[in-house]
């Protein structure tokens, strides 16, 4: 799984909401098997960019895109692209934990079930596997039939991660996954991300610069829809090339 190729190549990519250009001519390559963080002040287009990578942006009626996003060399905005398959291979975890109002088991089995897996033994295996990978198995193995909504915030978020992992995705997109969590749950999730990185490519949008610095290999800094700087996390945080980047990470604005 881990190789140094590019899993996403984003080429002169722009996103519009109506007449408003939310993302402007972004050009970056995302390395497979690494954690890439996207940082920037509110409204800079980082979530919009993230959501365009598995075409969750399609759900906003007025949105349209220009340019190309290649996922493993395939243009995901081509009209022949199977969006359903794309979303299976590029999973997403949201800001607010959003488990379904059903049992822990049903939450994790949701994706495999809609893909037609019916055999109980096979589903059991997938569910256990995903929960183990999401570091939640030990806590919930005795309450698989309890409601997913009865868990704590941090557990719910790991349940959502397990739900995505049950699809065996190649990429996981995280949209500020810890901004609704307490510091201990946040630390758990951060550790989990570093563990998951061994098997899945991770792209994370975060408000929290320390978080980006702690866990990511690459960091992209966006401002007003533009990609200001993209590179090694160490370089970005220690020796940024751009003045804006420096001002943002030193906390002078944003």
């Amino acid at each position: 799984m881990v190789d140094d190729g590019n899993i996403f190549e984003i080429k002169d990519f722009s996103i519009y909401y109506g007449d408003f250009m939310a993302v402007k001519n972004v050009r970056i390559d995302v390395r497979a098997g690494r954690i890439t963080a996207i940082i920037g002040p509110s409204g800079c287009g980082k979530s919009t960019l993230l959501r365009s990578l598995n075409r969750m942006n399609d759900l906003i009626i007025s949105s349209r895109v220009e340019g190309q996003v290649l996922f493993q060399g395939v243009d995901i905005y081509h009209r022949d692209t199977d969006v359903i398959e794309l979303r299976r291979r590029v999973g997403m975890v949201f800001q607010k934990p959003n488990p379904f109002p059903s049992s822990v088991y049903e939450n994790v089995a949701y994706g495999p079930k809609i893909r037609g897996i019916r055999k109980k033994s096979q589903l059991d295996e997938i569910v256990e596997n995903a929960l183990v990978r999401a570091d939640l198995w030990k806590e919930v193995k005795d309450k698989l039939n309890e409601s997913g909504l009865s868990l704590s915030g941090g557990q719910m978020q790991r349940l959502c991660i397990a739900r995505s992992l049950a699809q065996e995705p190649e990429v996981l997109l995280f949209d500020e996954p810890t901004s609704a969590l307490d510091p201990i749950s946040t630390a758990n999730i951060e550790n989990l991300l570093q563990e998951l990185q061994k098997t899945v490519t991770i792209i994370i949008v975060t408000h929290n610069m320390q978080q980006a610095a702690r866990i990511s290999n690459y960091t992209a800094f966006m401002y007003l829809g533009e990609m200001i700087e993209f590179g090694d996390t160490d370089t970005i945080f220690v020796n940024p090339y751009n003045k804006l980047t420096e001002e943002y990470i030193t906390g002078r604005f944003g």
């Binding site: 598995n54 969750m56 759900l59 009626i61 359903i84 398959e85 979303r87 299976r88 999973g91 997403m92 949201f94 607010k96 959003n98 488990p99 379904f100 109002p101 059903s102 949701y110 994706g111 079930k113 809609i114 893909r115 909504l149 959502c160 739900r163 995505s164 699809q167």
Partner: protein
């Protein structure tokens, strides 16, 4: 508890001084009176009907058919008729109503079509019930040749309650958080799978509550079944969809106006009315309990 809060309040300079404001007092008591009058009306009606009807209520009354030109005996076929009419009505209206609500809440885009559909639904909700009765007579009884029958009556009731079922279902669907849909789609579900597996099950308690309250509404209707289903008298319970039925509201109407022994049957009239009210209140209560329980359960 009180003592603590009183001592805590004492030094506070902004404590409201007691003073009598005539205008405010007047309007306050006016509002109270009217509010109270609303509740009182219900209790007066309930008391009146119960007072006059309770003495005829017995197991025989609800389990036996009427005898001796409906001056004696029970109202068993009448209850069965009303239950069958409303049940069949719900079987017909729920699939159509929920499908329409799914279209409105999930698929429709703002525009001419949506405006037209919404306008039609609102207008339909405002049509007087006797007009539905005439429509049912024209379409189901005559055109489709169902005759005065259980089927024609339930379909007429179904059309009448359709706007209500649509709007309660639509509200239930819209109350499902967007984040559930988002999560499902991000798992690689199609829109239809998302609706079927996540949105509809989540909205189901709300949809059912609407259906129960709709049932309560329908079971008391007289005008829509008058020309389409309700019989003056049937010897027993119907054996097919194409037979006319007796129904509680129509039975009251018949006994009170069209019978030959109006005075003699006063007791039965009130007894029937009481049965109907208990039935409707019971269903309303069930709907209200369901609704409050699901509100408590809702943690998202």
């Amino acid at each position: 508890m009180t003592r603590i809060s009183e001592t805590a309040r004492k030094p506070f300079a902004l404590v409201r001084k007691k003073r009598f404001n005539l205008k405010q007092g007047f309007f306050l008591s006016l509002i109270r009176t009217f509010g109270f009058a609303g509740a009182l009306t219900l209790f007066v009606i309930l008391f009146f009907v119960a007072y006059n009807g309770i003495h005829v209520i017995s197991w025989d009354f609800i389990s036996r058919p009427p005898i001796e030109a409906m001056t004696k005996g029970g109202i068993f076929p009448v209850i069965v008729g009303t239950v069958l009419l409303t049940a069949l009505c719900m079987i017909a209206v729920i699939p159509i109503g929920v499908t329409t609500a799914v279209f409105l809440a999930e698929y429709s885009k703002p525009g001419m079509l949506l405006d037209t559909v919404m306008m039609s639904i609102y207008t339909l909700a405002g049509v007087p019930s006797v007009v539905f009765g005439l429509f049912g007579l024209g379409v189901f009884v005559v055109m489709f040749n169902f005759g005065m029958s259980l089927l024609a009556g339930s379909l007429t009731l179904a059309i009448m309650v359709l706007p209500y079922i649509i709007s309660t279902s639509e509200e239930a669907l819209k109350a499902v958080p967007y984040s559930f849909r988002e999560a499902s789609l991000a798992c690689g579900a199609t829109k239809w799978q998302t609706i079927k597996k996540v949105v509809l099950p989540t909205a189901m308690p709300g949809i059912l509550t609407g259906a129960i309250l709709g049932t309560a509404k329908v079971s008391g209707e007289t005008a829509p079944i008058m020309f389409t289903a309700a019989a003056f008298f049937t010897p027993g319970v119907p054996r097919s969809f194409f037979e006319p039925v007796m129904a509680l509201p129509y039975h009251i109407y018949v006994l009170a106006t069209a019978g030959t022994h109006i005075e003699e049957t006063r007791g039965i009239q009130y007894g029937t009315a009481l049965t109907l009210i208990v039935l409707v209140l019971g269903m309303n209560l069930l709907g209200i309990i369901l609704r409050s329980r699901q509100r408590k359960k809702k943690t998202w």
